[in-house]
């Protein structure tokens, strides 16, 4: 194995671990600005994590071993996703480990475990949150798969590095299907990351919460890991979106020059994307939970239309 590529892979992991909370802080900051509030510093998520890591873990006395195991599992899943998605280079040793379909599987695995953990202690909120999360998940997953299929049809591969490479290093062609897939992807990401039209990440209001309801029983380092994993998930979705729809600036090689070029591009894209997310969250109101199927049905529909449009307009007859 190429040592340069391995170093790059490690660098990508470390960068994901550090950038994910920063991204979370940046989104919160933008959201505060757009809502005319005083913004917390961008490093606020780190302080939260540090605080939580220092605190003791309080476990419910009927919590099973699964409950203690889930935060590590969740963190591992999200870190794995961040390692697989090509961000700094398309030539990473870990990338061939999973294609896009397996990637959706890893997300599903993480979702399964957190839903189980939500039900484990047996509180009403946990069960409620788990059920809602599974509802969202079962609607969001097919839409996400369809988005990936559209990109795969264009580049004729389900491997992420190949998709990113063929989309980034082609002559400039407008793909209408990718526009549809892009909108669908945004809708799915909002739902999957518990952002505002579907779920509110900052509230503990019992009627509306989904993600927060499941992790209500967690404390201390467990909660810290879960929060970190949530940040990693957001970061992973951002980098997936960049890879599929804005792949410019992700180099093929593993040289130092390539990375030096990729890093500013990534930071710029993250800043712009984070601001956009904050804008979406400010402009839209939280939906009723029972409107979520409609929202995600729309995402599925857009993704399917993207595929159909690809077949009609973009395949040589």
């Amino acid at each position: 194995m190429n040592p340069a590529a391995l170093t790059l892979q490690l660098l990508e992991l470390v960068m994901a671990l550090l950038l994910a909370p920063l991204l979370m802080g940046w989104v919160n900051q933008c959201r505060a600005w757009t809502q005319n509030r005083k913004a917390p510093p961008i490093t606020q998520p780190f302080r939260l994590l540090a605080k939580l890591f220092e605190k003791d873990v309080v476990l419910a006395y009927n919590a099973s071993s699964l409950f203690r195991f889930v935060p590590y599992m969740l963190f591992a899943c999200m870190a794995l996703v961040c390692v697989i998605v090509p961000v700094l280079s398309t030539d990473l040793p870990f990338s061939p480990a999973a294609d896009v379909i397996a990637l959706v599987g890893i997300f599903a695995l993480a979702r399964l475990f957190i839903a189980l953990a939500g039900m484990d202690v047996g509180t009403a909120f946990g069960g409620l949150g788990s059920r809602r999360e599974m509802l969202i998940g079962f609607l969001a997953e097919p839409a996400l798969l369809m988005v990936f299929f559209t990109a795969s049809l264009i580049s004729r591969s389900t491997a992420l590095p190949t998709i990113v490479e063929s989309l980034a290093h082609r002559e400039f062609v407008i793909y209408p299907s990718l526009a549809f897939a892009g909108v669908a992807f945004i809708l799915v990401s909002l739902a999957e990351n518990a952002r505002i039209p579907v779920d509110n990440p900052t509230t503990h209001l019992e009627l509306t919460m989904i993600h927060e309801a499941m992790i209500l029983e967690y404390s201390g380092r467990h909660l810290a890991l879960i929060e970190w994993a949530a940040a990693l998930k957001l970061y992973a979705y951002f980098s997936l979106g960049f890879g599929l729809f804005f792949p410019w600036g992700i180099p093929q090689g593993t040289g130092v020059g390539n990375v030096a070029m990729a890093l500013p591009a990534l930071l710029l894209k993250l800043a712009a994307g984070g601001f956009l997310l904050a804008l979406i969250e400010t402009l839209s109101a939280k939906m009723r939970v029972f409107r979520a199927p409609e929202f995600l049905g729309m995402a599925f529909l857009l993704a399917v239309i993207g595929m159909l449009v690809h077949m009609l307009l973009e395949v040589p007859a």
């Binding site: 199927p293 009609l312 007859a317």
Partner: protein, 224 residues
């Protein structure tokens, strides 16, 4: 891939606009509020106008400029304005359609699009125009507008569906044969305008008769 990159940039943009047209059709299909529906209809007209201008520029077909101008005046400015006025006069501004189950409508819409694309495929092989792949989208727009007319119960959204259907037909004509002859186009434009005015009169008649714009009342016209 190779065929796509062989397409000139304007062709690609026309394809993109066609895709946007389809997207707007779907948005209209699932839109509950009447005011947003009118805005979407105006947007559809604008996209149609833009794509017609692009086709005209690319192919040098002069008369398409006139078609685009008629579209702009009629479908982006005049008809939405009339509709807005009607809605204000009828005072149905906050009329929210009680649509039956939007996800189901969307799934039916997907099936309709698949059917339209398959139907249009052999036809578009016959056409020799630059824009022939978009024929399927035009057909899908027509069928989706038709579906909208079927699933709506109020009068105003049905009329908007009818107008949107005309948009689809216009787009089909542009993509298959670079537009219809000038006389036909003028005739259709006049028809749509007159139709709109007659519909407007009908709206008031229906409302004075039944106190509502719900079409289902029309099923019981017989005296009991």
């Amino acid at each position: 891939m190779s065929a796509l990159s062989a397409l000139p940039l304007s062709g690609q943009i026309i394809n993109l606009l066609a895709a946007v047209l389809l997207l707007i059709s779907f948005a209209m299909l699932v839109q509950r509020r009447i005011l947003s529906l009118i805005d979407l209809f105006a947007a559809q007209g604008a996209v149609l106008c833009l794509s017609t201008v692009l086709v005209a520029v690319t192919t040098g077909q002069r008369h398409l400029y006139f078609s685009a101008a008629i579209t702009l005046v009629l479908k982006v400015v005049l008809l939405p304005w009339i509709l807005h006025r009607l809605i204000r006069r009828l005072n149905v501004k906050w009329d929210v359609e009680g649509l039956i189950n939007i996800p189901t409508t969307m799934l039916v819409g997907i099936v309709v699009v698949v059917v339209a694309f398959n139907l249009a495929l052999p036809i578009s092989q016959l056409a020799g125009t630059l824009t022939r792949p978009t024929l399927g989208i035009a057909l899908a727009t027509v069928l989706l507008a038709f579906l909208m007319m079927i699933t709506r119960s109020k009068a105003v959204p049905q009329v908007i569906g009818f107008l949107s259907m005309e948009n689809g037909l216009f787009f089909a004509a542009t993509s298959a044969t670079y537009g219809m002859p000038m006389v036909v186009e003028m005739g259709i434009a006049l028809d749509v305008l007159i139709g709109m005015i007659i519909f407007g009169v009908f709206f008031f008649q229906i409302r004075t008769q039944f106190d509502s714009l719900d079409i289902s009342h029309l099923e019981q016209l017989k005296e009991k």
